[in-house]
Subunit: 132 residues, 6 copies
Amino acid sequence: MPTVPLIPEDSDHPTVRRVFDDIKATKKIDFIPNVWRALATHPEHLELCWTRLKAIMAPGKVDALTKEIVALAVSATNGCNYCINSHTAACQKLGLTLEQLGEVLAVVGLFNQMNKLADSYQVEPDLRPRPW
Amino acid sequence: MPTVPLIPEDSDHPTVRRVFDDIKATKKIDFIPNVWRALATHPEHLELCWTRLKAIMAPGKVDALTKEIVALAVSATNGCNYCINSHTAACQKLGLTLEQLGEVLAVVGLFNQMNKLADSYQVEPDLRPRPW
Amino acid sequence: MPTVPLIPEDSDHPTVRRVFDDIKATKKIDFIPNVWRALATHPEHLELCWTRLKAIMAPGKVDALTKEIVALAVSATNGCNYCINSHTAACQKLGLTLEQLGEVLAVVGLFNQMNKLADSYQVEPDLRPRPW
Amino acid sequence: MPTVPLIPEDSDHPTVRRVFDDIKATKKIDFIPNVWRALATHPEHLELCWTRLKAIMAPGKVDALTKEIVALAVSATNGCNYCINSHTAACQKLGLTLEQLGEVLAVVGLFNQMNKLADSYQVEPDLRPRPW
Amino acid sequence: MPTVPLIPEDSDHPTVRRVFDDIKATKKIDFIPNVWRALATHPEHLELCWTRLKAIMAPGKVDALTKEIVALAVSATNGCNYCINSHTAACQKLGLTLEQLGEVLAVVGLFNQMNKLADSYQVEPDLRPRPW
Amino acid sequence: MPTVPLIPEDSDHPTVRRVFDDIKATKKIDFIPNVWRALATHPEHLELCWTRLKAIMAPGKVDALTKEIVALAVSATNGCNYCINSHTAACQKLGLTLEQLGEVLAVVGLFNQMNKLADSYQVEPDLRPRPW
């Protein structure tokens, strides 16, 4: 159960209404996901979060599906149930197949293992030129 | 400093030699990265790790660059210095530009924030059909 | 479902009884929170945990509300559902308003993002005098 | 070593210059911390991060020191070396004493322990009214 | 709710069938745990995971119970509900008593605390000879 | 560099001296590890940490080496450099061989992977009787 009352989708707080409308239009959905309804308990923070997320997730030099895959990889590594559900659904909507999901999660699992092995042995970065 | 002695690149342990040769050939590099030299202190584990990594990272229904981006996202979320260095370099080698890196890391940062906000408010997954 | 049987509130094990009574008196509550009932399956550990928590959470040079805010920030960063619920409630009881909660969680979200960006770019600490 | 070239403090990129000037003025410092110089490799992201950080960290219903303490608690829980150094210094600058630091970190340590114990025993939240 | 359809225990996909049969025989159980049914949505990954897990968890120079205790300690530190349940049950099956569980989890809690305190104060490793 | 001045080993603060002497006697070492010298900046917290650690790490129904292995597994999962170094050394001192270390870390790596896969697929615990 959320720790705060979720703000109704038809809130008439001007900031909340503006953000909620933009969320629906941008994501092409007809409901407000729960996390935004919780954030709306603090309208200024809601707006800061949404405008930034909208800017960062817009396709740029990296396409929208790759960005959602990164979002899923981060959420899985953090074990955030809400976000795993939400970004898995978003990946599927953008065309990720079940077989591709299997490959992506295999990579997620693999490097959660390798990260801890590198830490476990206290391995130092290989000497080589800086990438850029 | 590593907690174990790194096995020399020219080790003559047959399993180690076989894996080291395959690492160089597969990754098209002329040195053995430190993490594999540490894992080689337990040759059977080295081989298990390498054969699995090789299988999972081979391009399949998801391309090699996307897989490296996922590896970087996981490593950054876990804060593993060795792996962040290694996968940033691998992404660059596969063509990721500095501008694209900025976009990828923006997504990594964003969802590390959003994951914690979703957890903080104990938000429950939105009801909707299962993706697949 | 807990992995161990929760010890009843009216347990007659002398250590458990002593700790349970002190929990109720110190926290001014009339029930034993579930985590303490689980810890009571190992009475010595229960007592070690409780006496230490009591000592650390007592107001000192830092006030009780700030300590609960820190507890919430840690629990949110770790994504511990039980503790997020418990420390959110404790903060509210000590006077934190919904608006202040929004500000605190905004900071929690922000630095979960910034931490990962600093790690992602492998940024080294700025040179400056040690704080103390 | 950072994975990207740190942008010089006297960069003449207009966005970078605007943000760098604002960082110095807002934080009342005469240098640009490394994390901002790394973020400046992607000027739009730099600006998004800075404007949001500035908005969230401004004193509101929660004072500046409490916000820095939360930032330190989050950074310590994530084990981010850069941020631990930076927020410890910021707390000291805002008046936190060494003794108060000891109390804050005691709370950080305590709930990193308690979070994992609550998870370990799979304890469910106590039933009680929602805080707000 | 899982994000993918769990593959039925009586799947007739040859890889899945082979792995499922081996899981039952190796673990001496008469059902397929849910995690394997989810992994079976990508049969090649299922097989990679299972053969590696089987190799690593076989008693070697470290006994089976100690390995399960390590699995529980890792799962508790990561806060993975599924795995905490599964490895607690496995530990009990191998003879761990409730009292021993209390001791193990006390150590898990303790070092989750101490890890964060060492990070908080940015303590450097003590100088001493490398272990091996 | 530590964020606080490390308290000298020959401190004449009575609590610090008492704890430092006990650390040397209990651990049979002739120096004070850095983490305790940092904690000594808050003598009451130092004493709380040490007395609890001493109680929990004393051999009981679980032997000392298994406890150190758990400490290492936790520290590796958290990526705490100081503690990985310290507990690897402690394991070696208690008789863990390099080959056994390889097996232990293989288990650590494996379940960091499996934990994230279970989370990724949002798998629910298998129904079965509670362990105890």
